[in-house]
Structures are given as C-alpha cells and as structure tokens.
C-alpha cells in the first residue's frame, strides 16, 4: 500500500477541535494518523514524505448547494467541469441540486448522476433529489427509492414549495426515511416580480424589490412544520437577520433544524449591484450591509451551521440581459475557501469555526463521509497556504461559465493541493 506523510503542517480538524502543528499520514487512500501524535510516530518505511512548510491541512470542503447544468444545460457546466472547479477550490464533496433538465426526481436520474460522476469526476458528487416531482410543489417524489439509489438529501433547489400541506407531508415522510428536507424560501407572491433587495437602492434603479419578509415568512412556516412533524429541516440559504433569529429560536426549542448561508451573502451586499451588474443578481438577493453583518455573526455563533457556494453557472445567454430579465446566480466553487478566509483574516470568524462550517458541519448534517481528519476515514483533505495573496481572474476560472462575483477580487489564502481518497486531484 502506498503511504504519504505530510509533515510540518498546521493541522486543522474541527471534528476533534484540533489546531496544532503536526503531520498527516495517508496510507492506501485513508488517513492513518493525523495531528501532533502523527508527527511523533514518524514515517513508515517507504513512505513518500511531503514537507508542507507550515501550510495548513484541512478536511476537504463539503459544499451542500451546487447547481450543475448536466443533464440539460451542459454548455453552462458539466459534472466533469464542476468537479475540476471544485478540486481547484479545495472542495472534495458536493451535493448537487436537482434543478436539471430533466429534474432529478427519479431513480434513473440519480443513477445517471452517480454514473457520470464515477466516470468523469475526480471529487465526490452526491445528488440531492427533488422533494416534489418536476419541482412543481405538488406530488412528492419517491423519497425511499431515491434514497436507496443514492440521493443524500431532498430539496426543490431554487424553488419554494408554496403549499404548507405539501411541506408538512414532505417533512413527515422524509423523517421516516431519515432524510433532511432542504428548502430555500421565497414567497412568490410577496417577492412578486422583485429582482433585488427592496430598499432605496432598488428604488433609484427602478428595479422591483424583494422584501426580507418574503424569505422569513415561509421560513417561519417551515420551522413550525418542522416542530409539528419532528422532521429534519435545513434552511438551504438564508440572507436576512430575521431568518437567522427564527432559526436560532427553533434550535433553542430543540428541533432538528440547520441552516446554510452562501459565501456571497457573507461577502457582498446590495451595493455591489452597482449599475445593473447582472453577475450580482442572486437568489436570495444580496441584502444590505446590516444583513451581511448579521449573517457573519450568526455564522460565528453557530446559528447558521454551514457555508455553501450556491455555485450556479449562468452564461451569456442568461446574464447579458437587462438586469430584470437576467437569470439569478453566481459560480463559487473555486473561490469558496478563499472568500471565506477573508472572515478569518478580518478576525470576524475563528479559523476552526470557518473550517467546521465549510466541511465538518455539512458532512455531519447530511451523513456524508469527510469533514474530518480522524484516522480511518477516506483521505479527503486539502493543503492550504492560508496567507498567500492572489487575484481572481476570469481567464483562470475552470468552470465553463464565468459568472463570478469575485472577478478582479484580491484574495488571501489559496489551495495548494487537493486529495480525494488519497489521490491528488489538484495541485498548484
């Protein structure tokens, strides 16, 4: 069995609260030892030795919200291209959203994704299945069969289920199957034709606004239903202070509730829309600076469990349009870690908490392998220079679509090497 010893590293493993100088020993694709103790053990005979020169080793990132164009819109992103982008960004596992054409609401589609991933992807791709057939918000899909085929979670992706009854039944039935229901909430009536955060900025631009309540109201409903049913609920991507407060209350009451926030909503605000920059049209919309600060604080204190990229490839045909006609969404796999590290460098969120939110927490919530450097697990890990400065340039982006919110942004901290099951899938 091949063995590699990564030594002289800073080992960050939130699953064990570890932040110490040490080594990681990988044998046969699994982690054999990690931390200061691994350092003391030394290298087994014949092991390849990698001097990390003080760089950090983290469990590979687990991104719970990734949109891919395959099947149906392969010109925007394929599973293979998303995998390359993820590997370069230090993401070793993704949960793929079911918003494809056809929709992943059927066993055959789950199998298609897993087969395509096996054949073309270098990272772990876990499909999420649709809660409702065709994402139409009415009939439940076959939760049990989908789970057995390999779906790791249920979600209607970009869509919000309007019917409280459908949501109640989904939560109830999914509980029996041990599946988490992930939901992104935006009341379609209240949001109406809105395209950005409601407020002065939208008013001057003449763009219809989306009030914060459009997110918080269906979320409040869902949290009550989670309490009623005892189901496992995950708020996929929240953006407002009032959403975070509601989630905090539900957690206090002891319900099985978790929440994610996108890196965009931790990094940007509505002012970034500027003069109709469609790359900053997102769903939920970028909010005010107060909301961004509230998201950062809720992430720090654990009210929000995980950070997602909400990677959503859109191309010229859907973005080079007047703002209100353009599609929402931004890519984010390649910049997820570096953008998150800004919160470490600014002192807003402790490093170990950030890594937990990027890796350990999503792996745990969705029962995925990874998120830890504990001996015995598959060696999904990344080597990161936490401090090296770099510039995001469109020409370097590996995603097929280039709709990044971070074009030209200065970053600090970059992935040097990505390992999936001990195999190097990316190296600078």
């Amino acid at each position: 069995m091949s063995a590699t010893l990564f030594q002289n590293a800073r080992i960050l493993d939130p699953s064990r609260g570890l932040d110490e100088a040490g080594s990681v020993l990988v044998v046969g694709g699994k982690i054999a030892a990690s931390g200061a103790s691994a350092h003391n053990q030394g290298a087994p005979e014949g092991a390849k030795i990698v001097d990390c020169r003080g760089a950090a080793i983290l469990p590979g990132l687990v991104d719970a919200r990734v949109f891919i164009g395959e099947p149906g819109a392969e010109h925007r992103e394929t599973i293979a291209s998303a995998s390359r982008a993820a590997a370069a960004g230090g993401v070793t596992s993704i949960i793929m959203m079911p918003d494809t054409q056809p929709v992943i609401d059927d066993v055959a589609l789950v199998e298609f994704v897993l087969r395509t991933a096996r054949e073309t992807a270098s990272i772990n791709v876990f499909p999420a299945a649709a809660i409702t057939k065709e994402l139409a918000g009415r009939e439940l899909s076959e939760f049990g069969l989908l789970r057995d085929a390999g779906a790791v979670a249920l979600t209607d992706g970009r869509h919000t289920i309007a019917s409280a009854l459908t949501m109640r039944r989904a939560l109830t039935y999914a509980r029996d199957m041990g599946l988490v229901v992930c939901h992104s909430t935006q009341d379609p009536d209240l949001a109406s034709s809105g395209v950005m955060n409601e407020g002065l900025l939208a008013s001057w631009l003449g763009l219809p606004g989306i009030p914060r309540e459009a997110e918080a109201m269906p979320l409040a409903r869902d949290l009550m239903l989670a309490a009623l049913t005892g189901g496992h609920y995950h708020a996929a991507e929240v953006s407002t202070a009032m959403s975070a407060a509601a989630i905090g209350r539900a957690k206090q009451e002891g319900h099985s509730v978790t929440a994610g926030v996108s890196i965009n909503h931790l990094s940007l605000n509505e002012n970034d829309v500027g003069e109709y920059r469609t790359f900053f049209r997102l769903s939920p919309p970028l909010r005010a600076e107060e909301d961004r600060l509230a998201m950062v604080e809720a992430l720090r204190d654990g009210t929000l469990d995980m950070i997602v990229s909400s990677h959503d490839p859109q191309d010229v045909d859907t973005k080079r349009l007047p703002f209100a006609e353009a599609a929402a969404g931004a890519i984010g796999l390649e910049t997820l870690l570096s953008a998150a590290l800004r919160l470490h460098h600014s002192g807003d969120v402790p490093l170990l908490r950030l890594v937990e939110a990027l890796s350990t927490a999503p792996a745990k919530r969705f029962g995925l392998p990874g998120g830890t450097l504990t001996p015995g697990v598959s060696a999904d890990l990344i080597l990161v220079d936490l401090d090296v400065p770099w510039l995001v340039r469109e020409a370097d982006i590996r995603s097929l679509s280039k709709n990044t919110c971070f074009e030209g942004a200065r970053m600090q901290g970059q992935v040097l090497k990505t390992l999936v099951a001990g195999r190097t899938v990316f190296a600078i």
Binding site: E198, G199, L200, L201, A202, S203, W204, L205, G206, L207, P208, G209, P211, E275, Y276, D317, R320, L321, P322, F323, A324, E325
Partner: protein
C-alpha cells in the same frame, strides 16, 4: 442657431439619465433647447446641424408621442431618421437586446434612441455600441428628456427653477418620469414634494430628497408647480388602489384641489392623460395647464440633446465602444 454655438461642450457621450448630470450640464441643455424652440417656430423648421447624421429610434415599448417627438426633433435638425419597430420584429424571433444592438451598430448610426421596459436597458446598450445613446425611458428607472422638457417648461413660465415648490402626484412607484424629475429638480434647487397612496410609493422614498405626503391636499398647499403622473389602467382595479373613483376622489387633480396651490401654479402632465382618473378635464384644459407647452418643449429638448451629443467639437460621438 448659429454655426458656432456659444454653448460649452457637453461632457458626456450619452444621455442615460439625469443622475450623473451636473447643474451646469442641465442649464446648458436647457439653454440650447431655448434656441431650438426658435427653430420650431420658424416657418422653415429646419437646421442643418445634424445633416447626414443617422439617428435610429429603437422603441421596444410602443410610444407614439415620444417616438414622434424624437423623430421630428431629428428631422428638424437635418438628421436621417430611421424607426425600428422592434416591438414587432426581431425580438419576437428571440433576438436579445444586445444582439440587436450589435446589428444596428454595424449600420454605423450616429445616435441611438432607445425605449425599453427594463430598467438599465439603455446603459446596457450603451456599453455595446460605438455611437451616442439617448435613454427614452427604461422601465421605472429614468426618462431624462421628459425631465428636461418639464424643466424647460417651468423655466420658461417662471424664469427659474430654484426655490420653486414642485408637487409630483401619483404613481411614483412605477414612474421613470418621477425619478428623473426628482433628481433634476433637486439638482436645480427646487423643493420637491410627492403625493400618492403609500402603495404607489417606492421603498426609501423619504430618503430620495422629497417631502412625502399621503394626503394630496397637504402636498398642494402653496405649490408653484403641480406635476401629475399617469396611473396605468391595470393598477387601478384593486391591486394598488381599490378603484378609479376612489383614486380620483383622493388623488385626482380637480379645480377644487388645485385651489390649494398657488393661484398661478402650473399644471403639468407627461401624457397620455387619463381624464377623470388622475386629472379632471377642467384642469387639464384650464388656464393653468401647460400640458401643450410640454409637448412643444419636448421636441426642442430632444433637438438640443441630440445636437449636444453630436457636437463636432466632441470626439466622443465618433469614438469606438
């Protein structure tokens, strides 16, 4: 107009909105428009200043008056004017705004006039073409020539704009006319009031440099100018306001309400009017109404704007994108 105009060079390549114009820019455009009024009042209504220049009107929203006003303005300045009926042709075949823009750009126009239902459409177009672009209305964003013609009408009637109290009444939420006017009137030192039911006011209106009233009578007291906005039919039947008659009762301008304004207050409307909805005929056709003057000033302002943008002293009009 004389061959070498005494006006300063207009410092922008496009006219996309009033935002971004300085008070000096606005004054200069109004001065030029004053000259243009003279041309339109001659028996021979023709200048050669834009001779051999090509103007394309690209109207994605049907608008008989604004389109004719731009067409006439171009013709009176001597330009070759082409109307693209995009509402009925290529867009139906799925061509995007930018594809159309690139196609038109290849025909080497000197100036493009665009009206579009989406806010920001004019700015988007301007990024992709090598000629000057005039925004003739983009969604609920801006309609700069309307604000300029309103300002010209006021200035000619009152001799100034600063320190006048201007009350804008009606559907501010959906109105590009209101936004452009709020910016322009503030820049020129007027006191701006808005009056509307709160369902027709945008979020943050109180921070847009206006005094907000939800009782029209209060907003009219002592006003020098009353500017009415059009309320679209589909917004009257229960969605934003309960009914036409209720709207007219509280926010329609009739002779009785008008008495609250200054005795010689000007009554304005960007047209087309809904008589009996936002304005009573007795007022629209009354002695204080300057609605017909607004139409005349519209042609003059558009002549002036195009003349300023295509000023040969500016290299910008020929510059590539």
């Amino acid at each position: 107009m004389t061959d070498t105009p005494p006006f300063p060079v207009y410092p922008h390549r496009h006219l996309l909105g009033i935002k971004g114009l300085s008070p000096l820019d606005i004054e200069m455009l109004l001065d030029r428009a004053d000259d243009a009024v003279a041309i339109s009042r001659q028996p021979e209504k023709k200048s050669t200043r834009l001779r051999a220049r090509t103007q394309i009107n690209l109207f994605y929203e049907a608008s008989t008056r604004t389109q004719s006003s731009f067409e006439l303005a171009g013709k009176r300045m001597g330009a070759d004017v082409m109307n693209m009926s995009v509402a009925s042709s290529s867009t139906k075949k799925g061509e995007t705004l930018l594809d159309t823009a690139v196609t038109l750009n290849a025909m080497r126009p000197d100036i493009l006039i665009i009206r579009h239902a989406a806010a920001g459409a004019a700015a988007l177009l301007a990024q992709k073409v090598g000629c000057s672009v005039v925004n003739a209305g983009d969604g609920a964003h801006e309609h700069p020539t309307q604000a300029l013609l309103d300002a010209l009408t006021i200035r000619r009637a009152r001799g100034r704009i600063d320190r006048l109290t201007v009350t804008i009444c009606g559907d501010v939420l959906h109105s590009r006319v209101a936004r452009s006017n709020i910016v322009l009137l503030n820049a020129m030192g007027a006191r701006v009031r808005v009056a509307a039911p709160s369902t027709l006011l945008p979020a943050g209106i109180e921070r847009m440099g206006v005094e907000v009233f939800t009782r029209m009578e209060d907003a009219l007291k002592g006003a020098d100018v009353v500017m009415m906005l059009r309320l679209q039919r589909e917004r009257m039947a229960g969605s934003f306001v309960p009914s036409v008659r209720e709207y007219f009762r509280y926010f329609g301008l009739d002779a009785q309400k008008l008495k609250l304004a200054k005795e010689d207050a000007l009554v304005m409307h960007p047209g087309p009017m809904n008589r009996g909805v936002e304005i009573a005929s007795e007022v629209a056709d009354g002695p204080q109404s300057v609605i017909q003057e607004q139409v005349e000033m519209g042609v003059a302002v558009r002549m002036a704007v195009m003349d300023a943008l295509l000023d040969p002293r500016r290299n910008g009009s020929q510059a590539p994108a």
